[in-house]
C-alpha cells in the first residue's frame, strides 16, 4: 500500500469536511441579522431561526461526502486512487463553501424582510432554497465521483 495514497485520501476527507466553513460563515451572517430582529421583537425567534439554519446544510453535505470517502480509504492501493479522493471532494468543498456564504446573505436579507412582514416568511425561505440547489448539485457531483473511486 502506498502511504502517499492514504495521505491524499485523508486530504480528500478533510476537504469535504471543510465545506462546513461556508455553513459557519453563512449561519453566522444570518444569525447576526436574526439577533437584531429578535432584539426588537422576541416573538420572531422561530421564523428567524428557520432562516438562519438554512445555510447549515452545506456542512452536512460535506460531512456525508467525507464519510463516504472515509469508507473508501481501506481500498486505497495507489497514489492515483488517493488523488481521486481529493478531486471527488472538490465539488462539495468549493461549491459548499461558496453557496453557503451566499445563501447566508440571502437568509440575512430574508430575515430583514420577516422583521417587517412576518407573513412573507415562506417567500424568504424560497429565495434561500434556490441557492441551496447548487449545493445539492455539488454534493451530488462529489457523491457520483466517490462512487467511481
Amino acid at each position: 500500500m502506498e502511504i502517499l495514497g492514504l495521505v491524499l485520501g485523508f486530504l480528500g476527507v478533510t476537504l469535504a469536511i471543510l465545506a462546513g466553513i461556508g455553513s459557519m460563515i453563512g449561519t453566522g451572517i444570518a444569525g447576526e441579522a436574526a439577533s437584531g430582529v429578535v432584539a426588537e421583537d422576541p416573538g420572531k425567534f422561530v421564523p428567524t431561526l428557520v432562516l438562519q439554519a438554512l445555510p447549515g446544510t452545506q456542512g452536512i453535505y460535506g460531512f456525508v461526502v467525507a464519510f463516504l470517502i472515509l469508507q473508501k480509504l481501506s481500498q486505497i492501493q495507489t497514489v492515483y486512487q488517493g488523488w481521486l479522493c481529493v478531486v471527488a471532494a472538490l465539488p462539495i468543498c468549493i461549491g459548499g463553501i461558496l453557496s453557503a456564504i451566499y445563501q447566508g446573505r440571502v437568509s440575512a436579507a430574508a430575515i430583514g424582510m420577516v422583521a417587517k412582514r412576518q407573513e412573507e416568511l415562506a417567500k424568504g425561505i424560497i429565495y434561500a432554497v434556490v441557492v441551496e440547489f447548487y449545493a445539492i448539485l455539488s454534493f451530488l457531483g462529489s457523491f457520483l465521483l466517490v462512487q467511481m473511486i
Binding site: 416573538g43 421564523p47 415562506a122 424560497i126 432554497v129 440547489f133 445539492i136 454534493f139 451530488l140 457523491f143
Partner: protein
Amino acid sequence: MALAKMKHLHVFGKLVHREAILQRLQELGFVELDSGAPVAAEWSLEQKKQEEAELEREIASLNGALAMMERFHPRKPTFIQQFSGIKTGMTTVQYQNFLAQEEKAATVIEKCRELETSWTRLENNLAAVAGRLAELQPWLKLDIPLSALDQRGPVRALLVKVPPRSKRALGQAFSELDGPTVYVEEVGVEKTGLYWLVIFHQKMESQVTKALSENQAILVELGKEDQTPRDIATQLVVQKERLLAEQERLRQEIDGLVQERPLLQALHDAKDNRLVRIRTVGELPCSERTFYLEGWVMAKDLGRLKKAIEDIDPVTYIEVREPLPEENVPVDFSNHPLIRPFEVIVQVFGYPKYGEIDPTPFMAPFFFIFFGITLADVGYGAALSALCWYLLRKVKMAGMGKKLFQMLFLGGLSSMFFGLLFSGYFSDILPIPALWFNPTVDPNRLLVISLILGVAQLYLGFIIQGIIRLRAGKPGEALRNEGLWLLFLTSLILLLSGGALGLGAYQNFFTVFALFSTLAVVLGKSLGEPGTILEKIKRLPGALFSLYDAVNFFSDLLSYSRLMALALSSAIIGQVVNYFVRLLKPGIANPLGLIAGLAIFLFGHLLNLLLGALSSYVHSSRLQYIEFFGKFFEAGGRPFRPFSKKYEYIELNEEGEA
C-alpha cells in the same frame, strides 16, 4: 372548472334598508364592493360620523383593556401558533352570549383601568420606598435621631460622604485646624465612600467646610425625622411589605379579570366589524330616499344573494350584467376539490387575469408527480401526510395556509407511491426490493424519466399557448408558432436521441425530418405571416435567428434534471443516517446502542425529511413557475376580496367544539 364566473352587480334600494342589506352582505361575504363609483350630482354620501366616532372610542377602550391583560398575562403561543397567530376559539352560541354582556364588559374595562392606575401608583410608591431605603442603608449605625443633627447652640453636626482616597488627607486637615477639636465618627464604610458624622464648634464652620470641599467630601441631607435611621428603615421595610402584599392582591384581582378576556375579544371583533360596515355604508351614494351599491359577485352565489336581499325588502332593484372587457374583474378559483390545494402554488405566483386560462388543473398532476419523485420515500411520505393531517385537524386554518397543508398531504401520498416504486423506506432501512428500480443504483434511468416528464410538461405548455391563440381566433398564428415549433422540437429530439431510444435504424429519416421541420419553421415565421413580398423576405434573417430559441427549450428541459438530483440527495443522506444507526448495533442485547440508534434515527431522518420536503416543494414549484408558466401564463389578476366579517382575536367554530 378553472376560474369562477363573475358578474357585475348594481343594487338600488330604499335608504331605510341600507344598513340591513349591508349587514346581510357582510354576513354572507358574497360581494366585493366597488367603492370607486362616482357620485352623481343629486346623490350624496350620508355618513354617520358620530356613530363612527363612538365605535372607535369603544374599540380603543377595549384595546386598552386587552393590552393591559396582555401586559400581565401574555398569551403564550404554541409552536404552531407562532406561525398561525393566536386566536381564542368559541362557538357561535358563546359568541352571541358574549355580545349580550356589554354591561359586564363595561365594568370589566372600568376595573381594568382602575387596576392599572392602582398598579402604577403602587409601583411608584415602591420605588420611592426602595430609594429611601437605599439612601439610609449606609447610615444604619448612626444611633441618634436625625432631628438631633439640627443646629443646637454652638455645636454643629454634619453627615458627609468621603471618598476613600481622601480619608487620610481629611483626617490630617482636621487635626491641623486652628481651634477646638473636630470630632469625627465613621458610621459606615462602603467601596464607594466612607460615611462620617462630623461634629465641631460653630466658629470652626468655615474652616471645616473648606477642608471638606478641598477633599471632595459631599454633604449628605438625610431628612429631619425624630428617629434614628434604623428606626426609619424598619418602618420602611414594614411599609414595603404592605405595599408588596397590596401588589399581590392586585395581581390576583387582575388574574380574576383575565378570565373575562374572551368577552372583551368577542366584543372587540364584533364592534370592529360594525365599524367597517358603518364606514362602508358611508361610502354608498344616496339620494333622499334610496341608496346605490355596485360590486362583483360570483355567478354561483347570485341566487342566494338575490333571495337574501329580497327577504329584507322585495322592492329592491337588482341588476346583473357580464363584465366588460376593459374592466378589472376580480378573480377566484373554481376547481375540483382534489385540484384545489394546488391553487396555492398559483396564488404564490400571482392570480390569473379574468378570462385567462387557470393553469392549476394542468399544473397539479405534474406537481404531484414531481413532489413524489423528489421525496420518494414511503416513510417520509407517511410522516409528512400524517403531520399535515394532524395539523389540518388540530389547527383551524383558512385560505392559503389550509391549501398548503392539503397540498403537502397529497404530496406525502405521492411520496409514498414513488417510495414503493423506488424502494425508499426511510431510505434503505427495510430491504424491500423496488417495484420499479432503485435510483441510487441506477441514477441514469431516473434522469431519463425526469427529462421525459420535462418534455411532456413543456409540450403541454406550448399546446396550451396554441389553444389560447385558437380561442382568440388566430388558427394561422397557432399553427405557425406552436404547431411548427413542436414539430421542429420533436425532430430535434429524435435526431439527438434517436440512437439512445433504440431507433438508430431511422437516423436518416430523422435527419430529413429535422431539415424539413427547420425549413417549415423558418418559412412559417417569415413567409407565412401577412405582408408584402418584400416584407416577407426581410423577415427571413429574423426567422432564422428564432431557431436559436431551441437552446432555451433545451435549457428549460435540462432544468428538469433537478428531479433526479433532489431524489438522489435525500436518499443518500438517509442512507448515511442508517449507516450510523447500524454502526451502533441496536438490539435487545444492546440497550444502550438501541437508545442511541433510535435517537440518531429520529433526529437524522427528521432533519432529512424537513430539508427534503422543503426542497421538493420549492423546486417542484420552480419548475412550474419558470419552465411551465413561462410558456403561456401571464398572471397579474386581482384576487376577489368580498366584503365580509373578519376576526382579529377570536375564531368561530361552527361545529361547537371550543
